[in-house]
Symmetry: D3
Subunit: 245 residues, 6 copies
């Protein structure tokens, strides 16, 4: 028995879902940058072109997302559901999301949190991804039969804005302080130039990361919210707690 937890030598892949072209970057871009730099493959599913936003055309936003994914060393795929600011909870959507999970076979899934008091697309997508991660495991769903069932290791929620942080799940704080991680994340956010005309969202997110970093005792941190309790085989896996004050 070893003190150091068992880790796969080959990292499983990461699959991140976003309702809009910039949600993943603003909500968990630093974590993605950190993981891809460590060799974990990442793939993004974006579920609208952001066409309801006050600024930016669909075409612009599509290009911005492509640039941003490149910066974060991730591949990118568009999934058309109901359109921006129109997402509804439908079985047909959940089956599409589940089919993607089966196809990509990720170890880790990232999705926006289910907190209702935020942009409605965010919480609806989060809830549908949670359901899809279940359906991806069930054997008898006929639309999904072409691909082998798949059980993910973790569904982790991110919060695009502070209000979207769940109050009923204890967070884990991810250290994203490495300068090259902060730089990549910043560049990824800045790729969404159309969204930065009226408010400085990049500065907001960096400040939020520094604020959480101060709680965590590092320069920058991001909070993720595990949908299910982690199962660990060693206390060493827990790192250290955010006990700075």
């Amino acid at each position: 028995m070893k003190l150091i937890p068992n880790f796969p030598t080959e990292p499983g892949s990461l699959l991140a879902f976003g309702a809009h072209p910039d949600d993943i970057e603003f909500g968990c871009g630093g974590v993605i940058a950190r993981e891809t730099r460590a060799g974990r493959p990442a793939h993004f599913i974006i579920c609208s072109r952001g066409e309801a936003a006050s600024n930016g055309t669909s075409r612009q936003r599509t290009l911005e997302a492509a640039t941003d994914a490149k910066v974060l060393v991730a591949t990118l795929e568009w999934l058309e559901l109901d359109g921006d600011a129109r997402l509804e909870i439908k079985t047909a959507h959940i089956l599409k999301l589940a089919a993607i999970i089966r196809r990509r076979r990720p170890e880790i899934v990232l999705a926006p949190s289910c907190v209702e008091n935020q942009h409605p697309d965010h919480s609806r997508l989060g809830r549908m991804v949670r359901d899809a991660a279940r359906l991806a495991r069930y054997g008898g769903i006929k639309e999904l039969r072409k691909q082998k069932s798949h059980g993910i290791a973790h569904l982790l929620f991110y919060a695009v804005t502070p209000d979207a942080e769940p109050r009923d799940i204890s967070p884990v704080l991810m250290d994203v302080s490495a300068p090259e991680v902060v730089a990549a994340w910043t560049a990824a956010m800045e790729a969404h130039a159309s969204q930065l005309r009226t408010r400085n969202y990049v500065e907001l997110q960096l400040m939020r990361a520094r604020y959480l970093g101060q709680r965590a005792g590092v320069s920058h941190a991001m909070a993720l919210f595990p949908n299910d309790p982690p199962v660990l085989d060693s206390l060493a896996a827990l790192g250290r707690g955010a006990r700075q004050f």
Copy 2:
């Protein structure tokens, strides 16, 4: 940047606090067994002789605790506070607990949960250990000046009984399924023979571990409740989630 989180090559020590001679074993004995088998040093502080229990003399219970600590490969130390079923929250106690933390310099501290609807000694000890872990870091407390200040990495709560599981902290589930771990833990609990005359607490705890194990997808698991959010430098540290159903 590596995918595998950074772990210390030399494991830090573990310090477990119990209000009664059998609390640590019944509440988190499987975790202790797992960690000591992996080479992590463990030390127990027991804060009463269990003299208020319906069965067992102080002398018997002292011997039982010694046997049990040996089985779990831990060292054992008695701390006299107010006596069994008499514990009160006092600064003098907190300072004593903080002095022990400074002397032992543990990486990880285990304490009973702070949930009030359980044996009153449990929640009071849990709250005082939480305070003591703070005071151990402060530089200006004169009773503590003899030892260098010390910041622990994690305070984790255990629940002696199901009712003591906190509702406002998300648990982590520790896999304690290895047969030698289950065997050691069982032997440690059975060392407390005086407590097993009227009710089969060993079977209760094993059933609880199997029940949690079924949630976790392993044969036996125990829940721990981190006082502070873990700060992690890789998603790999999260293991996999308890998503069996």
Copy 3:
């Protein structure tokens, strides 16, 4: 810098949504009466004719609502969605609600609470109004382009029945004790004569207001639940706390 908070000299308008012809009156009628008497314009949107109720025809209930709005000095508008006891959460509905918000440009929006264990139309309307208040601000939604985007100052939830009071939002207690306010509110509720045949809802609501009033130290009070934290520029705005016991 003044102690007295800055208030607009010209009061913004209030827009109240109800799922049934009598929800606004029973849930927050006293607050409406108080505000309109102070010169704030009020407009009601009622989303069904109450045709699923045990008593009263659609025609009767339409007339009752008209009388009641007159008593409360509010204007009244009917919005047909799915019908009484049939409301579903749909993007099309949310867009209609958002269009109304843009057209009326209210400072304050009142809606039924999102607590699920109540009449299903109530929580669904509450959630759709919350989403609509967001969409009313976004610039790129094509159905809404005819009207300029609009950000409201406050979304406040009311609870038609005690069970509908949210447990996760701290209430504010509105003092509605002025005799003319109580009289207008009572008259507005009594306008719904068809609903008062089998149970005395007027007495229930008045008793509830007196019960809350006793907590608040006034004769009658009503609880409202702000969707978002109030941003205040002076402590003077907080009035005094409900500390009577």
Copy 4:
């Protein structure tokens, strides 16, 4: 009936309690600065000399607090209870706190929050101030008979650190963005030079205020947590909600 709430023309005074010489400044100094600039008298009660801190002598800290109070235009009083990092919940303390409330007769009381997972002195002082605010109203307590009983208008909790923010009370966000307010608050925090040697607490608090400010739509905001629901006589008092995202 007027739309604008009734406000006293003569502002009632504010009484702030701190467990350590710098708690008030770091936890709610911006609010104090804003209120005193508007003419509200403020008085501080500090319950230890901060002698348990890693840095600073009692003498230094006493001087720092005096400077800081002057910057915030507040008067200052020391109350010796059990000493720094030693505070216990005792009736004798609560009576002393209640006597001060009777003597000062404040409209508003500020105290550290009751959240237990923070410096133990903070939550204990918060709980004792809450009890003291009750006892100050009761007529029959013999130690308090020399002064007339007094009922305060509001008890508001502040959080010295982010972890101390209560999860069961909805916050109000106080706008402290005026440049002269930020400047006075910053100067007040910087007066505690002994505490700033090892960590930049001033930057932490300013970043926290900017972070909350972004939620509130202003440059800097601080959160306060009312112990009791506000009783308001007009919706105008609610300002606007923090709905920026």
Copy 5:
């Protein structure tokens, strides 16, 4: 006035809803066995054939459910909604469920809990049954007019898996320890042979019942979660509390 509460001499019937052929048995089969043995009529509504499961054909599962209902002395009825793993929240479904409630006129309704982090069909059915129990009471819904309105005495939620236990409702623990009850429940679960090939769900549920039984001081117990506070006319009705530790 008698100490013993008033109970109907003729037991009202019980109506249990399940999303899949085995949900009722696994989630509350012991309670059903206990009640039918005491003479209470029971009726099951199953809302899919379980065709999305990894094992078992629709035909097999239909037969298994029939066997199981026979063992539990209940009648069985199939209700086709959207199919397994496809359930959506729709007014049309709710009206169908309400029509069944009016037709069966039960005293007690059992439904899966509304906790979202479980099989999505479970929480959606639970929420629709809750709404249907309301609609069954309203007089004016035209699809329901053929049957007299009906108010149930209790809606009780069951949790098919531990994760589905609501955290915001206090449970009642039902003693299902009688050997013939355990035997009937076990046989009912074993009737679902197709589901038991890959995982031993029967053992899981029995272990869960023994685990809860240990909290309750009996050999086997099951938790139910009342949607509404019980109204009691005697403290004797409360039995005794689960205070074993």
Copy 6:
């Protein structure tokens, strides 16, 4: 197996604890009146003479309590702890309370709730009674050895004021509508004439009971909060749910 739950033919006794001479009556007097009229013996322990109240001498209040107990057909005993508004949590107090529980051997214990934001004596007494009910069961506490250990059936919390109602325990609503029960309860409250000079607490409590009664579908109801989940052997024991709206 019978549908009707097993009830003792001989009712166990009820033991109610109050911090002040009128707490039991105001907080749960209607329930006491109902139970004693049904033949259940009741005994009151009052832990102060109410000497800190604004009105009434100790002597007057002692007489008032005696009258009131007579009206409720209960016996009365005074327990001197720390005095009114001075109660502290001490092991010595808990042992005294446990000794009373052993001596009286009640089936049911009533105590004020543990909610902290109320008169501090209330929550402290509630917490100490909860601990005492545990200690009364333990065999080895030397101060308690003179009496046989005793396990109660239920600890139920009452809320003297609305603010004292726990938010984390689901209530049970006790029907106290029988005219002779309301009359006895009213008379018991009116016995505390000294407390009724400045505020009409009797009317407050009756209104609260009518308000809860409306939720419960009866004329008057009182809420009790069980410390532990009830263990029931029949669904019939649950009465009917409060589903009036």
